[in-house]
Symmetry: C2
Subunit: 323 residues, 2 copies
């Protein structure tokens, strides 16, 4: 029997999940649950209201929660975990312990299993950090993000007076990547390691110097970073900056004996951040489904799932073809 | 209590395991078991004969088997699994199903747990293939090895008449790596994708043209590959080619919707192949130890181990610091 998937929310991430489910031979999409009414889904799968969720008990195996971390998931994941095994992409790092505790409590009472904070970071990048650090305990780890669109930073620029539209790219500085690949362990943090590249459409009468200054001095967003502001036309922005690509690098440079160095590098180059995140959520929907079948209840992360459980292949096929 | 480790065999890989155990805060090395007598270990840990192995029952938690796949592991892993949880680096791909079945039978009878085929390929590369394929089911996977020393190919050259010493490097062809990173899916196999670079010390009176021809026409080793033969002096070989570096790349290029492409890349750049392989074995010794503590018996691979189990960090620490 196929794994029956439900989707909660219907933004970019949800459409990524919807597309990914179509590519999986052992899954079927039962429905999309949304606060908005009258949505047409890309695949034609039916939509329901959030209030219908409890009525699908026994008809859906895993609910994929596609809301935002800040306001949606912190409430929705525990709520839906009352009825279903779930998976979410909760990425507000400082609140992960709190979110984990909330979900774990509900899941243990309801005897469901929910996996939180899946995607690529947190998610695949987290896995790479754990693997690399376990193998090379003596060493230094690095994470770089980009080149990719930061939605939050783009939104922050758009809120400035005189700004019509904007797109912000986070760009890792190649010099540090090269140093690490060559076995060096530079002292570089997120600020030093990234360039913030802004493309801004200004209103015709706007004071561009003022906008540029406001961007560069914006606390929590741009202060501390090297920031480059480019003013372009709306046509240029629509033509050249419509996609939502992203990616990044996880590296660990370590040594096994004095002077014997090893560099582990993992990188992603993604045409679409939400589609790749959705694809990771769907693979791990299979993982949490199997964990639940094995009797697991409570809250989990990617660290708890044996890799074999996210694959469609049997254990014997994995050993024969992928080992 | 520390995880008590034993090592079977005492070649390069065993010394890599020995060094790695020293870096792990939760492990101690109890002894090295070898067919040879009177060995001095690097760390000063005592050595014992192979016949002593059964006497250490209850004193060692995991035995790390460091023999060669072809003749040693195929017999030793089932033998030692009778008494201990074990881990090996069995890498004769075609015989993995047979080796798995042998070990599984012994382990289930003895109620031990043994993990086979650990290291980087098989091992970390295998994991990357499984993760990437589960997330991007529509796509193409690639594995490249090198730049690194192939011991088997170096040995094969050394056996030729007129050859005093030799070192063979496997080198991935950069052009294909670049194509894949740019989202293309070239039709490239192991033969087309690698260059075989040979450094040969010939005897003073040897026929170099004949040696070069014999290398390039050697079945199962060089036929089908682009092969370059360089004749050098013993001094040059000793000076420039004494290390045993290795590494490689696992890539997957796939799409989530038509034309939306993603590239996942994992790479290793290793100063010492046996030291890194040994480091992976030691991290997974922790994994199989925990699996055994959870009641697991039988034969396992890296695919079966939750990533959290190879880490020294608690689940809460992993969520707080690595997720």
């Amino acid at each position: 029997m196929n794994i029956r998937i439900g989707i909660v929310g219907y933004g970019n991430l949800a459409r990524g999940v919807e597309a990914s489910v179509q590519l999986q031979p052992d899954m079927e999409l039962v429905g999309v649950f949304s606060r908005r009414q009258g949505i047409e889904t890309v695949s034609g799968v039916p939509t329901y209201s959030m209030e219908d969720i409890p009525n699908f008990k026994g008809k859906i195996d895993v609910m994929v929660l596609c809301g935002g971390s800040a306001t949606d998931l912190i409430e929705q994941t525990p709520m839906v975990t009352k009825y279903f095994n779930c998976i979410d992409s909760f990425d507000t790092h400082a609140r992960i312990p709190e979110h984990f505790a909330n979900v774990d409590k509900v899941a243990k009472e309801a005897k469901t299993a929910t996996l939180i904070s899946c995607g690529w970071d947190p998610g695949m990048f987290s896995l790479q950090r754990v693997y690399a650090e376990a193998i090379l305990p003596k060493g230094k780890s690095y994470t770089f993000w980009g080149r990719g669109v930061s939605q939050g930073h783009s939104d922050a620029i758009r809120r400035l007076e005189g700004v019509v539209d904007a797109r912000q790219y986070t760009v890792p500085k190649e010099q540090y990547l090269e140093e690490i690949r060559n076995g060096q362990t530079p002292d570089v943090d997120g600020y030093k390691g990234h360039l913030r590249e802004c493309y801004v459409v200004a209103a015709p009468d706007a004071d561009k110097a003022k906008i540029e200054n406001e961007i560069k001095t914006m606390e929590n967003y741009f202060v501390g970073y090297e920031t480059v502001v480019n003013f372009i036309s709306q046509e240029e922005l629509d033509r050249d900056h419509k996609g939502i690509p992203h990616g990044g690098f996880v590296l660990r440079s370590g040594e096994s004996t004095d002077g014997t160095r090893h560099v582990i590098e993992y990188s992603l180059k993604l045409d679409s951040n939400p589609e790749f995140t959705g694809s990771a959520l769907v693979a791990y929907a299979r993982g949490i489904y199997r964990l639940a079948k094995h009797g697991g209840t409570g809250c989990y992360t990617v660290f708890d799932i044996p890799p074999a459980w996210i694959s469609t292949q049997s254990a014997a096929d994995l050993r024969a073809h992928s080992l």
